[in-house]
Symmetry: C2
Subunit: 260 residues, 2 copies
């Protein structure tokens, strides 16, 4: 029994559940217009939310004022009122008024609206971290409140280490998956699609995927029915102009491989 | 106007809002007991949630059965029933029954319970990613659905690059922040605390923080009233036994610095 148990990961308590919340087209209410609010607003816009900012115009910081002027967000030029919560899918509060903050938190909990009251950990359904973004790739660093500045330093450290074309490589893999679903659309094809995609990722180092052209993706798909995956050299040789070396488009990152 | 605008970050749509959800002591209902459920359960236990798994005993995979046997989760030995949602703070569904999944999703939305239906993106308030964990540090990699396997490869790539003592360094910074709050507990001390912590993180490379001893932390705190931060050498010289070189505890990672 003890033997068998060792093959499963040990529970390591004390963490958070880190999740990618989907707020595309959802209504996010931001209460406050200072620097913290500005950061929250950008996070939400990067996730395609409909953002409403409630704060007196005089208190908007330059970045928030800029987003209002560009109509990236809807602005309500006054202090918070409870009716602002009507229809809100998420509420982010960043004001210097603990009593008002707590009142908003209480209202959110009554209405079961996920909320974050900045700097008041017990009044938060969730915390923010430091996020690196490169196209479809998002990497979030959380220190679970131990060191917010450290989170930001570690995020920059990671960004420096990642191959420059990581985002583009992920786009290519996403494109391959999408086209595969067109070629083999049935739910019954699911396991075969998954098995083949696994073979593809085993065959090519992930960062090399960014060097594939649309033509390469089309050629690669012709191997799906046989369940095989060609080497990169074979794939390259299938090009209309096979002399166009695939390495030409790699910005020197060709040959890099995971863990090397 | 166009000039001024350039100083603010551009919005890059198409992402998610990556957040650290707080589920310590909260009730998470997991419907299903297969491999996907096993992964979800571990994520939730690592965040100190109270997890209930609803699935017939015969369908539990070995890892889920192990967690049930160890009483790490509560097990309800049958298929899902709507009353299972009573009191649930979050619902994670991982069953091979699209109709039943959709029915659970609909009930969750009626009750405003955050939910994730595995493999059904439109029926998810949030997605999962690949998470690296090292003590208080959590790093989550999301490809926003473009390549789940890639997310896992990138997570491993990052884990390889991070200095081995990163988690311990963060613990030390957290300890320093906590003790500082004891030394200067008033809300009015907040700005001074923050300014001094900033000085500390500017003075020491983040990964070197793990080498500090409890004695070092106590000595470092004596500098707070003056608003100064000693060099690492000075701090080391203050030890009862200053000959104990601080590098001795660094496992060779001493001297590493961000971006080097």
């Amino acid at each position: 029994m003890a033997e068998a148990s060792s093959k499963f990961p040990e529970v390591q308590g004390g963490g958070s559940l880190i999740i990618a919340w989907q707020i595309k087209g959802k209504r996010v209410l931001v209460v406050g217009g200072g620097e913290v609010a500005a950061g929250r607003i950008l996070h939400c816009l990067n996730a395609d939310a409909n953002v409403t900012v409630v704060a007196p115009a005089a208190r908007l910081n330059p970045e928030v004022a800029y987003r209002v002027a560009r109509q990236q967000v809807t602005h309500v030029d006054r202090n918070f009122e409870p009716a602002d919560l009507d229809g809100a899918d998420m509420v982010l509060v960043a004001i210097d008024d603990p009593a008002a903050s707590t009142a908003i938190w209480t209202l959110c909990k009554q209405r079961r609206i996920p909320a974050n009251i900045a700097d008041v950990p017990p009044e938060c359904d969730f915390y923010f971290g430091s996020v690196h973004r490169d196209g479809p790739l998002q990497i979030m660093v959380s220190t679970n409140g131990k060191g917010p500045r450290l989170a930001s330093l570690i995020r920059r450290f990671i960004a420096d280490k990642l191959p420059p074309d990581t985002g583009r490589a992920i786009e290519r893999v996403g494109q391959l998956r999408a086209e595969l679903r067109r070629v083999a659309p049935l739910p019954a094809d699911g396991p075969r699609r998954m098995a083949w995609m696994t073979k593809v990722s085993d065959a090519y180092p992930w960062d090399e995927m960014c060097g594939l052209t649309d033509e390469d993706i089309a050629n690669l798909l012709t191997f799906f029915p046989s369940g095989t995956v060609p080497s990169l050299d074979v794939l390259k040789g299938m090009r209309a102009n096979p002399d166009a070396d695939v390495t030409d488009v790699f910005d020197g990152s060709f040959g890099f491989s995971v863990g090397a």
